[in-house]
Amino acid sequence: MELSILVFLAGGLFLGWALGANDAANVFGTAVGTRMIDFVTAATVCSIFVILGAVISGAGTTETLGKLGTITALPGAFSAAVSAAITVYIMTHWGLPVSTSQAIVGAIVGWNLFSGSTTDMGTLATIVSAWLFCPLLAGLMAASLLPLVSWTLRKTKPHLLRLDQATRWALLLAGAFGAYSLGANNIANVMGVFVPTSPFGTIQWGTFLTLNSVQLLFLLGGVAIAVGVFTYSRRVMMTVGNDLFQLSPVAAWVVVIAHSVVLFVFASKGLSSLLAGANLPQLPLVPVSSSQAVVGAILGIGLLKGGAGIRWRVLGGIGIGWVTTPVCAGLVCLVILFVLKNVFGQTVYL
């Protein structure tokens, strides 16, 4: 493999690293921050399941991003990934709510504009509506699940210590499911733009394990996310854990489950086919924001408890982020594409 290919892929790997560093906290933050689960166990489970989710179920959301814009040259894909990563870094640095999903969509639209390709407005509308729907669905799910769990606990009356033990296991399992969903839903952000120009072939290990070029790309992205989890997520987890500490561990479990289910339903091709088979309305397979799903779930619980103490400014911030993140990523992408094309003489589109 040429060195230049690796350099171009590094853009996506950097984005994967940033995603692992930040979003693993949405899955295991409370459990680790409150010391219900130790960091090494959480990071190991998270990494394994992120990779599994990416390789097994990552294709659905990638197809949707592909419909938005098919980046036809590796340097172009690099520009999109790096501009998304830069946007995430800058907005995080300024303390603004940001999501890799929104950044990559902005970057793809930026590439479309630069290359003169048409942006499928139908797909864009589907993606934006999924962003709006994601926190709403997570909030609804958390607000429905919490009374159910609460009722079950009141009926079964487990001893506080046994409940504590059970909650630890529940948080670990929910975390594994959350990590799988995160990998399945968000791998498209990290590696989706490289799919049309994937430099890999198909690899077969033994009789059963065959990975095609896209799955290899997702495996690489999954590993980058795992590196982000192990190298940088601990601090974020401790912060998230302490921020969410007002939630009881059981409520935190509800939040993780609601977040994971939402990410899963927006990623699973199997579920989508199942719903289609039963003539039920299908949800689009769209990369959504893991952080916003968590915020939605917490707000759902807050509203269920009467709405006191909800910081409505956080909601306003998310709304602004839906516009500022893609616009910022699109602009950065235009600048990078211009520099790569005119300064470094790279082919950024075919």
Binding site: S150, L153, R154, L160, L161, D164, Q165, S248, P249
Partner: protein, 220 residues
């Protein structure tokens, strides 16, 4: 290996649950022994049976201390119930203080041997029984905190009711003591024991108030 570790973890959790129950049982036992010793004192003074019950209270109090220390150590060593650990430790320590009061009251009676006249005995006995019932209700509330959070409020209500009953007995009793012909030293000595016994109910109510807050935090 995984399942072996898991089952041993479950075993240790069950052992800790049993220790919490044993600790609360000790507080009940301490109250029973205190009541029995106090009744014997009112009827016969410091006799062999009184000393036997005093010894029993001292032993139970010591065992309760050991159990409490074990529970606290285990909670911290295994980082159990991280969100409520501080509350649970405070609760157990405050309840443990009540066994100290049982022991200290009997010890003071044994040393000072207050002369409780016949006319005051029924009230003293009633006060002691009410105070012990108040502590027992607190113990029931603490048990509910661990297993049945909805029952905490009812048990706390019972603690508050019994504390008021104890006040209703102790105030007229003190008036009766001070309106009698006894000399001031005798009156002061008797009032001291009224207050000491009433203190059990007062302290139980204070702990119950804290427990009400812990119970709100425990609700999800």
């Amino acid at each position: 290996m995984f399942f072996k570790n898991n089952s041993s973890l479950l075993g240790r959790t069950r052992k800790l649950e049993a220790q919490v129950d044993q600790f609360l049982d000790k507080v009940n036992q301490c109250g029973k022994a205190f009541s029995a010793a106090f009744q014997i004192y009112l009827e016969n003074g410091v006799v062999e049976d009184f000393d036997r019950y005093l010894g029993e209270v001292q032993t139970i109090e010591h065992e309760a201390d050991d159990l409490r220390r074990n529970i606290e150590l285990e909670l911290y060593r295994r980082t159990l119930i991280p969100d409520l650990r501080g509350d649970v430790l405070q609760l157990l320590e405050n309840i443990d203080d009540l066994t100290n009061i049982y022991k200290a009251d009997l010890f003071r009676i044994s040393v000072q041997q207050p002369d409780i006249l016949e006319e005051f005995r029924a009230d003293f006995l009633e006060l002691a029984r009410t105070a012990v019932a108040c502590v027992d209700s607190l113990v029931a509330a603490a048990r509910s905190f661990f297993t049945d959070i909805d029952a905490v409020r009812d048990n706390i209500r019972e603690v508050v009711r019994l504390e008021s009953d104890a006040d209703r007995i102790s105030s007229p009793l003190q008036r009766k003591i001070f309106s009698s012909d006894l000399d001031l030293a005798h009156k002061t000595n008797l009032r001291y024991f009224v207050e000491r016994i009433d203190e059990l109910a007062n302290q139980a109510e204070d702990v119950a108030d804290q427990l009400a807050i812990y119970a709100i935090k425990r609700r999800i």
